[in-house]
């Protein structure tokens, strides 16, 4: 087992170094790329902390939608998130949410997933909820 600092803790200190010391010391395209690097490191740091809960919630929400569109119970038994997402995407494209009530349920789940994804990728992007 690796000793502390944890992976997330290390990424946090790398991001801080990039932001505070490296970016201001550079200019031009390299500075821009370093700023992007700092932002990516921060994203991965949040991913390490937040993704397990986010992915569990996404799987549960996706299974619930798949179950609503499938009486056999087989679809809801999908435990792999990639596969569950692929099935949901295919079903949505095929008209699963054409019915307004179903569309509302789908929208709610997708919105929760989008907000969880944003808490990792871009916190604050969802503070605007107008058009």
């Amino acid at each position: 087992m690796q000793p502390r600092p944890t992976a997330a803790e290390l990424l946090a200190v790398v991001a801080e170094l990039l932001d505070r010391d490296v970016v201001p010391a550079l200019d031009g395209p390299v500075q821009h790329h370093a700023r992007v690097a700092a932002s990516l490191v921060t994203i991965v740091e949040r991913q390490l902390r937040l993704a397990p809960a986010a992915e569990a919630a996404e799987l549960a929400g996706t299974q619930q939608l798949l179950a609503a569109g499938d009486d056999s119970g087989e679809a809801a038994a999908v435990v792999d998130l990639d596969e569950a997402r692929a099935r949901l995407a295919t079903a949505l494209r095929a008209g699963m949410a054409d019915d307004p009530a179903m569309a509302a349920s789908v929208w709610d789940v997708l919105m929760r997933v989008a907000r969880d994804d944003l808490s990792i990728a871009k916190p604050g992007h969802d503070s605007w909820d107008g058009e």
Partner: protein
């Protein structure tokens, strides 16, 4: 590189204008994969007096894919200019790649801000948001007032215009984007289904559309809109697409309350467009706004793919992949079931 470029440009301009033209203080404004932009001054002598001009060079690197060739782009700009759309005047077009290493054109350098954050800071500190949006609406109405029949041949023949069915073409683009995704996106599939079910009829009136008029592609000064840039994406299409595009969230650069270009509200754009003779269509506007948002999200995923498959390795392209959730969220905002 800039020294060589200055010398080559000076020689070419001297030849073209039949008098000695010296190129000075050439500065690269941007050098991307698709185009290189540089600003420079020329000094020449006319009737015994020295004359200085501030000009802009736009060059397409030899390997880059041209959406519309430089001659076509220049022709569209000239046509738009003659209809009263503010564009930097084109002075020279050169399709001979041996001169600078790629086809290029030279236009007037228009002073003002182009970088989105700086544009929005200027607009809001000067209190001219409504004026700029009003000017954009007027400019679009003038552009769309040009009959497609008068469009330059390269535009009419471009692949983007060829179908004559912009709605079907746009949907096909989304379909292809969905199929190219490395991992499926339920949100974009949901969006695509909505787009298919709500697709408006093909427009009865096709016009020239710029297709990328937005904050970041315009020059703004403290007196308002000075020029619309980057006409390489012009094609024949549905005019409402142009109106919807700057009203998408990604072009507001955090000025979310100002739904049109981060500067004013959509009603201001609509009023100006109608006042200048444009025909607004609310349903079509909503549809194009959803389409553009999904398309941009798929485009970001495509950039990440280009990084991963090695066709365009870049940290910026890699980072685009992690911006996809922003566009998924924005798509859902537009599809709110209420």
């Amino acid at each position: 590189m800039t020294t060589d470029l200055s010398a080559q440009l000076g020689r070419w301009l001297t030849e073209q204008e039949g008098r000695l033209v010296e190129v000075r203080s050439l500065e690269l404004a941007s050098a991307g994969a698709r185009r290189l932009n540089a600003l420079f001054e020329t000094v020449s002598t006319r009737d015994g007096t020295a004359e200085t001009s501030k000009l802009a060079l736009t060059m397409i690197p030899r390997a880059a894919i041209q959406i519309l060739d430089v001659a076509g782009e220049a022709a569209v700009r000239n046509l738009a200019e003659s209809a009263g759309v503010p564009v930097p005047h084109v002075h020279h077009v050169c399709t001979d790649e041996s001169v600078l290493g790629g086809p290029f054109f030279i236009s007037t350098a228009v002073a003002g801000e182009t970088v989105p954050r700086r544009v929005l800071r200027l607009v809001h500190s000067a209190g001219i948001g409504e004026r700029v949006v009003d000017q954009l609406g007027t400019a679009m109405a003038r552009l769309h007032g040009i009959s497609a029949a008068h469009a330059p041949t390269p535009l009419l023949e471009s692949a983007a215009s060829a179908s004559g069915a912009p709605i079907r073409t746009a949907l096909a683009g989304i379909d292809e984007g969905l199929r190219s995704l490395l991992e499926p996106s339920p949100t974009f599939s949901f969006g695509m289904r909505w787009l298919e079910r709500h697709a408006p009829p093909e427009p009865t009136h096709l016009t020239i559309v710029h297709s990328d008029i937005r904050t970041g592609n315009i020059i703004v000064g403290d007196d308002g809109l000075r020029a619309i840039l980057d006409w390489e994406t012009a094609r024949i299409g549905d005019p409402i697409e142009d109106l919807a595009w700057p009203c998408q969230r990604m072009w507001r650069f955090r000025e979310d309350r100002h739904t049109a270009a981060g500067m004013a509200d959509i009603a201001t754009l609509r009023k100006a467009y109608q006042a200048a003779g444009g025909a607004w269509d609310e349903d079509r506007f909503d549809w194009w706004r959803v389409l553009g948002t999904v398309r941009w999200g798929l485009g970001l995923a495509g950039q990440a793919r280009a990084h991963l498959d090695g066709s365009f390795p870049s940290i910026v392209m890699a980072a685009s992949g992690r911006r996809v959730p922003e566009l998924e969220y924005d798509t859902l905002l537009l599809l709110r079931t209420r």
